[in-house]
């Protein structure tokens, strides 16, 4: 059933995600210094950066877990500040750490999360069928009736992914999507992302795995010290890094060049046996 259903878009004229002038200050730290992002329908957008660059802060601000100091966030055309219910209704969020309710079974957890997002009033039969599909897709069908406290870290992560997809969101915001997935699961998730993008949905993902970003993403933004230092397709990023003639230049080299981490690269080379 998954991937065959087109994503239901409520506001076709608006981009999936639009961020204008986003800033986030903590007491002594400027975590985000004014960034603009635009993710179109049908796009897989990668959000990369070194540790401490502001990726997780950005993601948590986009889903309403953190309040921005300044700036505007529009999800599917709905303002997150002025219309949070509508905006959050069309987002599926997958955090990097899968904290869930440990005294619920996998099925109960999925029903619970679906209930929080239930705008369209699914019939119970249809919901159970979709839950069955999700559990099967993420290889959790044998664990559906067990309490989640018995799940491994990877299983919890997969359950959280299921919950984010259950209400057929217009945009999926994901922090480190490949955590907890074996190679087969990673392949399935990549296919899923492609299918959703093809159906009109959008993916906004943050990852450290540059190979995944290079393989999946239509466009990539690189954030460093709270600012976006580069954004575009792979050819555009290569050009930005001054490697425009080298079509074989991988994202890792581009990333390191742009984030000026060549010294680190030399150190790593020196440490190799």
């Amino acid at each position: 059933m998954m991937g065959k259903t087109a994503v239901h878009i409520r506001n076709k004229d608006a981009p999936a995600l639009e961020v204008r002038g986003l800033k986030k200050h903590f007491t002594t730290v400027e975590a985000i210094r004014g960034i603009d992002i635009r993710v179109e329908r049908g796009e897989i957008f990668g959000f990369l950066g070194p540790n401490g660059a502001g990726k997780t802060t950005t993601i948590r601000t986009l889903v309403g877990l953190l309040r921005p100091t300044a700036g505007e966030i529009f999800i599917g055309g709905f303002s997150l500040m002025d219309n949070p219910v509508e905006a959050k209704n069309i987002v599926g969020f997958i955090p990097d750490r899968p904290y869930i309710y440990e005294k619920l079974t996998g099925r109960e957890f999925l029903r619970f999360v679906h209930g929080l997002y239930n705008v369209y009033g699914d019939e119970p039969g249809m919901l159970e069928e979709r839950i069955d599909d999700m559990l099967a897709f993420f290889q959790l069908e044998e664990w559906g009736e067990e309490l989640t406290e018995a799940y491994s870290h990877g299983m919890k992560q997969r359950l959280v992914m299921s919950s984010a997809l259950l209400h057929n969101p217009e945009i999926i915001i994901v922090d480190e999507p490949m955590v907890g997935l074996d190679p087969k699961g990673a392949r399935l998730l990549k296919n899923l992302f492609h299918q959703r993008a093809a159906g009109g949905g959008a993916i906004f993902m943050s990852t450290h795995t540059l190979a995944v970003a290079e393989e999946l993403c239509d466009r990539i933004a690189i954030i460093q010290d709270g600012e976006i230092i580069a954004e575009g397709t792979m050819p555009q990023l290569r050009a930005r890094a001054g490697m425009g003639d080298d079509e074989g230049a991988r994202l890792e080299a581009v990333f390191l060049k742009l984030t000026a981490d060549e010294e680190m690269d030399e150190i790593i080379q020196a440490l190799r046996p």
């Binding site: 219910v85 904290y99 309710y101 619920l104 079974t105 929080l116 705008v119």
Partner: protein, 571 residues
């Protein structure tokens, strides 16, 4: 150069010390104020305990024949009570410290010796299990020192005996935990222990109350004075460490010119021997038990659909999203043994509360019993309000915090925090109302209170319960503890203390507002007269004030909680 065991012990305990130091060094805004408030509250309790005990002990001291016996008997009972509390506390604490603590995953993979690990964990268990007992026991010992002229040596004896005393139940508790975990997985063993100990504790409280211990204060209750003295002179048990600790201190207070350190010596040597034996037991059982702890436990009741069916039946009362939160909370409560097992204790306390009213000696005083009965019934309104507040502190105040690290799910969902708080309110209000109304109706029936007092009780309880629930949810949302693993500690947090103070103050103010009109009307009725128009007007004004106060508390609490929760950032 220090030996290896000492170095390792120092190293293993250093994170606790650094954590404490860093908490003081990196204080967040408001921490200093909160600390000052907490210290102030503790100081008030200290002073009250100290004054109460000083008063008791002075009275005991001057009684003929009793003077030498009662202080020692009292000390024995106190230490026996401490021993029970410490045993239970050590047993439960050691599950977490020895088998479930997150840092064990790190430490067990290092070459740290088992002995050092045991000693460090034992120290942690002992401190966690005993700090409150020691803290609130200190004014008791200070009272003894004041009344019996204790100097520096007395306090040295107190310190040594208490430190040695608390080690023994800690070692016993840890040892028992080790043995249990070798048979059952740690979580299951802990759950079983929680249920058994709460059932036992509840039964003990009931048995203690039914024995009517207040009769001890009246020597006429005994057949002969000789029986009374015999009962008083008999030691509680010479085999218990509690008796050794009591003797160690009593000997100093009422003993000869030269202090006999025999009992102190027994206590110190036993505690040291206990540690050595405990270390030996741990070396042979901990590894196996820790491995068993990693086992997955399949739940027997996860498949039950009773709750879902009940929610569906009454689902029309709530919007869809609120139903989800309510359903989730009910399931979590029912499946968490540490939560639902508290019900046993609660039921025992309710039975005792009602029983107390049954045995109240209202006859035989200079106030006519009909007046006294209705006075007590009115004051009962306050008492039941305090009980409801105490139960709310335990179950309602932590309701928001129970979301734990999973709060991001609700926060990032379209539910909205207002809906979230309303769901918490509804799920807490009905049980609390049931409790309050049961207490007030049962006790008023037992007392034979006037119908007016009964109705005042029922209606006031309804409105005060609404406000107390809102206070619990609102303040719980304003001071959430999402990261705290140990739910039972949440009521004792700064926010929990604030809630109790506000709830008790609120109930008291309601009582004060209602007192005057109820008193005047009851005087008229019981005196055979009729109610005047002034009394009716006064009653109406009083009722309006109570309603305004309840409404004010409700909205301020919920709005404050909502606002503070909205401002909170979730990582």
């Amino acid at each position: 150069m220090r030996n290896t065991l000492t170095n390792e012990l120092y190293l293993l305990l250093s994170p606790k010390w650094y954590g404490l130091r860093n908490r003081l060094r990196f204080r967040s805004r408001g921490d200093l104020t909160r600390s000052i408030v907490l210290v102030g509250i503790v100081a008030v309790f200290w002073i009250i305990i100290y004054l109460l005990f000083t008063n008791f002990l002075y009275q005991f001291k001057v009684v003929e024949e009793f003077g030498e016996i009662l202080p020692g008997k009292l000390l024995s009972m106190i230490f026996l009570f401490f021993l029970g509390i410490l045993m239970w506390s050590s047993l439960l604490t050691s599950f977490g410290v020895f088998f479930m603590s997150y840092d064990l995953q790190l430490l067990k993979a290092t070459p740290v010796s088992e002995d050092a690990m045991y000693l460090a964990r034992l120290a942690e268990t002992t401190i966690n299990a005993s700090w409150m007992v020691l803290l609130f026991g200190l004014p008791v010992f200070m009272a003894y020192g004041t009344v019996f002229g204790g100097g520096v040596v007395y306090y040295l004896v107190v310190v040594i005996s208490n430190v040695s005393f608390v080690i023994i139940p800690a070692v016993l508790g840890v040892g028992l935990t080790m043995l249990l975990v070798n048979v059952f997985p740690a979580q299951r063993a802990k759950d079983m222990l929680m249920i058994v100990s709460l059932l036992f504790f509840a039964g003990l409280i009931l048995a203690f109350r039914i024995l009517r211990p207040e009769r001890l204060l009246d020597p006429d209750a005994f057949n002969s004075l000789l029986d009374f003295f015999t009962a008083m002179r008999a030691p509680l048990s010479p085999l218990l460490p509690s008796q050794w600790a009591a003797e160690a201190i009593s000997t100093y207070i009422v003993g000869t010119l030269v202090y006999d350190p025999f009992w102190l010596g027994v206590l110190v040597i036993t505690s040291m021997a206990a540690v050595v034996i405990g270390m030996w037991v741990s070396g042979r059982t901990h590894d196996y038990g820790f491995t068993k702890t990693q086992e997955v436990r399949r739940s027997r009741f996860a498949g039950s659909t009773v709750i879902d069916r009940l929610i569906s039946m009454y689902g029309f009362l709530f919007p869809q999203r609120l139903k989800q939160i309510i359903s989730k909370d009910v399931k979590t409560f029912v499946r968490d043994v540490t939560q639902w097992s508290q019900i046993f204790l609660l039921m025992a306390l309710i039975v005792i509360y009602v029983y107390n009213f049954r045995v109240l000696p209202l006859a035989g005083t200079y106030i006519p019993s009909v007046y006294l009965t209705n006075l007590v019934a009115f004051l009962n309104l306050g008492l039941s309000g305090f009980v409801v507040s105490a139960v709310a502190a335990r179950f309602v105040f932590p309701a928001v915090s129970l979301e734990g690290n999973a709060f991001w799910i609700v926060r990032s969902s379209p539910l909205g925090l207002k809906g979230f708080l309303w769901s918490k309110f509804w799920i807490s209000f009905f049980p609390l109302l049931l409790l309050g109304e049961t207490l007030i109706i049962l006790t008023n029936v037992l007392l034979g209170a006037h119908p007016l007092i009964k109705w005042v009780g029922v209606i006031t309880t309804f409105f005060t319960t609404i406000s107390v629930t809102a206070l619990g949810i609102g303040i719980g949302a304003a001071f959430p503890k999402f990261q705290w693993d140990n739910v039972s500690k949440i009521p004792a947090s700064f926010g929990g203390v604030i809630f109790m103070v506000l709830a008790v103050t609120f109930v008291t103010v309601v009582l004060v507002i209602e007192w005057r009109p109820v008193y005047l009307i009851m005087l008229s009725i019981l005196g055979g007269g009729s109610i005047t128009s002034n009394q009716i007007i006064l009653s109406a004004i009083s009722a309006i004030f109570v309603l305004i106060l309840c409404t004010f508390c409700f909205f301020v609490a919920m709005e404050t909680g909502l606002r503070r929760l909205e401002e909170r950032e979730i990582w």
